[in-house]
């Protein structure tokens, strides 16, 4: 009954306001609408009330009030996530950490920074300019996404190929656990004694608690960086080059692939001089000490030519390098020029199978009469096929979802996994059993239950469950008024 729902949310709001201040609680229609969705294509989420705490104590207070009212809570960073991890189900308390955005401490000697979870990824690296250090994880959304969100999703980015994903760079994390208690997991240096609870927490997608302070490792800036742009007349040759580079014993700092559709979409604003007639380009970044970098540049160029590269261009200066990367990092935005919507997948496959899988993905899209654009972290086999479409076109969603599912199935068939960096959220729960047996999932549930015995932290996410998420149904069945 709507009036009991409204009344109970009023009482909840009153207690939250008393706990953290009325200016930190938002319950108006526009706020609830804004926080009902994230960067994913999932619609139909419903927030009960939104909190914007400013401290660990206030986060803990929000959790305690939520629990006292029998409500779940959903942690949220900038809301750039792509798998629906921050989409609220059944009127939970949304706890946004965006107002906790201070860089608390930078220890240059020990190469550690303590930050609040709402610090924007790129802001930390900007803050570190001049210290000779940077924060290595660099998701494409780094201008907007927060470090708290990076921790929740164990985010990646192009440079994780050599430097590792977020987990590798998180030394310790202070968390508000789902029971409202505060604990510090991990150590500033090395490993904490006992179980690696830090490692278990990172990538928990907000189902294990809320990070309130994070100690990140800082990486020394490489003395030498060379960026290569290779172009190919077939996408298969580009994919083969990726495998051949790795097989040659070279792990580049980044190794990215963009196909012709993407190149044509990004060149007008990036002005990087990407060849518009190439079937695919590879961006290869090599960094380190000068002697090794120049040997690797030569080796990569030789491997690429053997695999059929038409040209091998080495960025002459920082400006050229920045333009090459601008196109890559702006790729998702540029897609809007082609069609208004896109559905982005994030599977990982063995990097020796790239050529055949990319061909397969293109065939799947063609069969469903869809445009697919490929721009991805080729070096670690992390595909990002973008199915672009106009959601107003009748019947298009069914085709998009069917093609998406086939891409996931193809990836798993060749020995791949569901997600490399975007997480499972709501979106890929239904595919978990493609990869994991009941026993595998039961073991994962043990971990989740240990952190959250009562199931109040971001319920419905990650693990498949019989329960549905309020108005957001399983993706294949799209209810009235909800579009994915």
């Amino acid at each position: 009954m709507w009036w009991t729902r409204r009344r109970s949310i009023e009482l909840l709001t009153r207690d939250l306001e008393a706990a953290i201040g009325a200016d930190r609680v938002a319950g108006g229609a526009s706020a609830l609408h804004l926080y009902s969705r994230d960067g994913s294509i999932i619609r139909g989420g419903r927030a009960g009330v939104v909190c914007l705490p400013g401290s660990t104590e206030q986060v803990a207070a929000c959790v305690r009030v939520a629990r006292a009212h029998g409500r779940a809570f959903v942690p949220r960073g900038a809301g750039t996530g792509l798998s629906g991890g921050a989409v609220p189900c059944d009127d939970p308390v949304v706890i946004s950490t965006t107002r906790m955005d201070r860089i608390l401490e930078v220890d240059v000697d020990r190469r550690i920074a303590w930050v609040e979870p709402g610090v924007v990824n790129l802001d930390l690296s900007r803050h570190l300019l001049g210290t000779g250090l940077h924060f290595a994880p660099d998701p494409s959304s780094q201008q907007a996404c927060t470090i708290g969100g990076n921790v929740a999703n164990n985010s990646g980015g192009p440079h994780c190929l050599l430097y590792g994903v977020t987990s590798v760079h998180v030394a310790a994390v202070e968390v508000v656990l789902p029971d409202g208690e505060v604990a510090v997991l991990g150590e500033e240096e090395g490993d904490a004694v006992g179980y690696d609870l830090r490692g278990a927490f990172v990538g928990g997608e907000g189902t294990l608690g809320i990070a309130t302070r994070i100690a990140v490792r800082l990486t020394p800036d490489p003395p030498e960086v060379r960026t290569l742009l290779l172009d190919f007349t077939t996408i298969e040759e580009a994919a083969e080059t990726v495998s051949a580079v790795i097989a040659a014993g070279i792990v580049p700092a980044a190794l990215e692939l963009m196909d012709q559709q993407v190149v044509r979409a990004v060149e007008p604003f990036a002005k990087a001089g990407y060849p518009l007639d190439a079937a695919a380009v590879l961006i290869v970044e090599l960094d380190g000490l000068p002697a090794g970098v120049s040997r690797e540049v030569e080796a990569v160029a030789a491997v690429a030519r053997e695999c059929g590269a038409r040209t091998v261009r080495i960025a002459a200066d920082e400006g050229e390098r920045a333009r090459i990367w601008k196109g890559r990092k702006g790729a998702f935005g540029a897609v809007a020029k082609i069609k208004p919507s896109y559905y982005l997948h994030d599977t990982v496959i063995p990097r020796t199978r790239l050529a055949e899988v990319v061909t397969g993905v293109n065939a799947i899209a063609e069969r469903h009469d869809l445009i697919v654009m490929n721009v991805f972290h080729a070096g670690d086999g992390n595909l990002h096929p973008l199915l672009v479409f106009d959601h107003r076109e009748p019947g298009v969603m069914e085709r998009v979802l069917a093609a998406g599912e086939e891409i996931v199935r193809l990836s798993v068939e060749v020995g791949g996994v569901l997600s490399g960096e975007h997480g499972i959220g709501l979106e890929k729960r239904r595919f978990m059993s493609l990869l994991f047996s009941e026993e595998d999932l039961a073991a994962q549930r043990v971990l989740r239950d240990a952190f959250d015995p009562d199931g109040v932290a971001n319920p419905h996410k990650v693990l498949p469950s019989g329960s549905s998420c309020g108005d957001v149904q399983g993706l294949p069945e799209i209810p009235e008024g909800v579009w994915v």
């Binding site: 000697d109 020990r110 190469r111 999703n153 994780c160 987990s167 656990l177 208690e181 604990a183 997991l185 150590e187 240096e189 090395g190 490993d191 004694v193 006992g194 179980y195 690696d196 609870l197 830090r198 490692g199 278990a200 990172v202 990538g203 490489p222 003395p223 051949a244 790795i246 097989a247 014993g249 792990v251 000490l289 000068p290 040997r295 990982v348 496959i349 063995p350 990097r351 020796t352 670690d380 086999g381 791949g416 569901l418 997600s419 960096e421 499972i424 978990m432 990869l435 047996s437 026993e439 039961a442 073991a443 994962q444 043990v446 971990l447 989740r448 239950d449 015995p453 990650v462 693990l463």
Partner: protein, 297 residues
Amino acid sequence: MGVSGLADFRDEVGHSGPVCVRGGGTRWELGGPPAGGSREVRAPSGVVAFDPAEMTVVVGAGTPLADLAGVLAEHRQEVALEGPSGATVGGVLAVGRSSLRRPRIGAVRDALLQADCVGAAGALFTAGGPTVKNVTGYDLCRLLVGSLGTLALIGQVILRTWPSPERMLWMQGSVTPEAVRNMCFRPSSVLWDGQRVSVCLEGYDGDVEAEAAALGSHLGLEVVAAAPALPPHRSRWTGRLPEGSLLEVGTGVVHGLVEVEAGMPGPGVVTLAARIRTGFDPDGRLNPGRDPYRIAA
């Protein structure tokens, strides 16, 4: 080995009674010896598959580390696992101690991509996945590393490999670790005894030679034949460097003549750890007597 080896291992572990898993037995007492009456089991041994172009290797947990290293070395690759002579892959993962070269090759905990395990109820389950990048579900692999076999018994794993360096050398001199770290790009190891620093340089010939030359001419460091001998006990760095001990700069580990006991973790962590252990092993049959919280570092 492979599937049948795993099934045999599962059957050997069985459904009931306390079991402890034996690797090379090189650090048997660590975290407390297994309780009396525990049945000893061994994980399958052997390299199942190695694809140098993928930079991953599938290997039985009972495989001696030296055997694995030999197979990888044929393709100039290595893994971030290191242990005493005779140690096994599973043993090194269960203990979770990282190599002295951690700043270059990474922590043991980051090397494990997938683990096929036998759980307390005697069923096989898989944690993680085979690819070098993966956020599909919870990161159980991180939890298994360093758990001393108290959550599940690891039968077979997929590890991430890395290219081996072309050149490695150790240097020593009487300067501060900061001076060395400021002059080198990501040295593989920096050790400090309070007076002298030892540094390990690895990489391409030209780069190692250039950094060694700089360390020699600017800081007076000299090339030495090998890494300094490590004192016998590991503890966590507490900001004090007792006489005769050696600090691994940046990794929080001190090698000393005596063991400094680890401080107790906070109450939240203790509760969480206990819930995790009983969740995975409600009847306490996996390596009873062992406790990862009794390892000093």
